[in-house]
Amino acid sequence: MTAREAAGGPDVLVEAVDLQKRFPTFHAVRGVSFRCYAGEVFGLLGPNGAGKTTTLRMLTTILRPTSGGARIAGYDVTREPEAVRRVIGVLPEHAGIYGRLTAREAVRYTGRLYGVQPEVLEGRVEAILETLEMAPHIDRISDTLSRGMKQKVNIARALIHDPPVVFLDEPTSGLDVISARSVREFVRRFKRDGRCVILSTHLMEEAERLCDRVAIIAGGRVLAQGRLAELKAHTGLGLEETFVQFVEDTAR
């Protein structure tokens, strides 16, 4: 790779280069590389245990890569983790809530953690919860919110500092059809705002509906990546068959 490529063009917001993560008991990620651009939704598609969450945790500086690296908006995840954290929004898998805080307090807390200026914070908290159709529930104690509403609170928390890059780990898992639908709607909106969205999913149809490009991951490796239409054309099969084909090819 040349120095210019490593620096990344103006549009490259996320660049993972041969990311690896080895835990004491198993090798979770065995070399994942990809690039994502502004205004793009990139999907990490793979079965459970494929290494999607570990990959996202390395990109969000929560885990340190065993080898390889990544740059987010030009910052190195291992050498400048704090700078990386300031430019990303994160919705972890099975994200919980602070049950005794109201929606407003939870989002306000996150805003303060991201250093959002106090003068603008309150307005932003209200605006973002309103966008997420949470205005009627803004002062309700989170424990009393429905699952979909809790997820919306967590989405608001991920976006309160207006990050250019957003990571969503299985954002619709455990949600009912209506809630999942509205979460997908927000993902499209992030894209329209020009953000770079990276989401993980094990649902083929979700990837098909949302993602511009996907990386199919299994066993800690990227098996294929590109536009879904291209991948399907490549195998000449439907999406699910395409996926199974790729996973089985590597298993063999």
């Binding site: 704090e82 954290r85 300031r86 919980g96 602070y98 991201y114």
Partner: protein
């Protein structure tokens, strides 16, 4: 050591200047930017803690009501029972005959002498509370200036029977004195001939010292207990609880340094712990002041008070102690997989801290040895004791304070290190 620190600081500053020159997101130095984040974490943890009934229960209700009720309520019940037993006239089975003794029993009303065909069975069935066996011909022997042996049977496992025994002993002592007085009279002697030396005793301890002794016996134990229990629920909730609820990952993905997050959480635990300590000190002193005179007739004049200066120094030492306890609880909670596990680790900690508090009055000969003031936990209790007894030594106090701060800092450092370890954070 210092040389290495200076080198590190130079490198850090150099790196910061280089970063600043790059002109991108301003990167504040390691410490100047921590304040707002520490405040944000602290405010949120306190808000959550205050909305948790468990916190209010152990931080306010326990020290304000339960502790004084238990400390004063139990002695009160005991006193009440003693009073009842003192004023009662127990039925005692008399075996044998001595008119003088029986007459005295009736006039003094110490016991109610009764006859029972099977006295031991009557005692077992609680129809009488003691059995007195008078030797045959007792009156005659006593009249001949002889000595007799009277038997008492009672049930030591029964407080009423034990009290009856006391009354029988009183009665016999009174009877003996009467006999002695008669014998002396016959020999033209006075009681003073038998007691050539009289003792005149006077207690020189001041009211303050007496109240200090009382407080030194009670207060350190409750300070220790509430320092642990007051912050326990909060400590368990804000680290192990975040793991369990799945809120930790978002927090770790946020910009604040680990140090700032831990510091904010530590201060929240410390606030809960110290809040409980302050409340228990106030409620104990208040309830002792108001409740104690009614409790003990002998303490009717005992003035329970703590000079303001002493109270402030006491709370100062308690704060440093609470800091150490809070840091340990936080570290344990970070390490634990779940709140349940954290709770299991913290419970033995409670005993490790409370038992020395109970032991200190019995190893008071160690006071004054320098090493004692360096042993965590033990040093605090010796310092409390000196403060309350008024034998304060500023050297000991300084040693205690410095070592407490040092230990708390080391444990806090360990907590931060644990919080930065992937293996600990994702221990599930």
């Amino acid at each position: 050591m210092i040389g290495r620190a200076v080198t590190w600081w130079r490198e850090e500053r150099g790196a910061r200047l280089r970063r600043d020159r790059r002109g991108d997101v301003p990167r504040p130095g390691p410490f100047e930017a921590m304040g707002p984040f520490v405040r944000a974490v602290y405010a949120k943890e306190m808000l959550e803690a205050l909305r948790d009934r468990r916190t209010l229960l152990v931080m306010i209700l326990l020290p304000a009501l339960v502790v004084p009720l238990a400390t004063l309520g139990i002695p009160y019940l005991e006193q009440r029972q003693q009073r009842v037993l003192r004023s009662a006239t127990p039925a005692v089975a008399i075996v044998g005959q001595d008119d003088g003794l029986l007459r005295l029993a009736r006039t003094t009303r110490l016991i109610l002498p009764v006859r029972a065909p099977d006295p031991l069975r009557a005692l077992r069935e609680r129809r009488v509370l003691a059995v007195v066996r008078l030797p045959s011909g007792m009156e005659a022997v006593v009249a001949r200036d002889g000595q007799v042996r009277v038997g008492i049977q009672y049930d030591a496992s029964d407080s009423e029977s034990t009290a009856a025994r006391g009354k029988v002993l009183d009665l016999i002592a009174t009877y003996s004195r009467e006999v002695v007085a008669r014998r002396l009279q016959v020999r033209h002697l006075t009681p003073a001939d038998l007691l050539p030396v009289l003792v005149d005793e006077r207690n020189v301890a001041t009211q303050r010292q007496l109240s200090g002794l009382l407080l030194a016996g009670i207060l350190p134990f409750f300070i220790a207990m509430l320092a642990v229990v007051g912050g326990m629920a909060v400590a368990v909730d804000l680290a192990a609880g975040e793991k369990e609820r799945g809120t930790l990952e978002s927090l770790l993905a946020a910009p604040p340094r680990r140090e700032a997050i831990i510091l904010g959480k530590f201060l929240a635990v410390l606030t809960a712990s110290m809040g409980a300590v302050i409340i228990v000190v106030l409620s104990m002193i208040l309830s002792l002041r108001c409740g104690y005179p009614y409790l003990l007739t002998s303490a009717g004049t005992l003035d329970i008070s703590l000079p303001l200066g002493t109270a402030l120094v006491l709370l100062g030492v308690a704060l440093l102690f609470a800091a150490l306890v809070s840091a340990v609880q936080l570290a344990v909670s970070i390490y634990a997989r779940s709140p349940r596990e954290a709770q299991q680790y913290v419970t033995p900690l409670y005993f490790m801290i409370v038992l020395p508090a109970l032991a200190v009055p019995f190893i008071s000969e160690l006071a004054g040895r320098m090493w004692v003031y360096l042993v965590p936990v033990l040093n605090t209790f010796f310092a409390f004791r000196e403060l309350l007894l008024g034998t304060v030594n500023w050297g000991h106090l300084l040693l205690t304070s410095v070592s407490c701060v040092l230990y708390a800092a080391v444990v806090l450092k360990i907590a931060i290190a644990l919080f930065s370890r992937e293996a600990v954070i994702f221990r599930t």
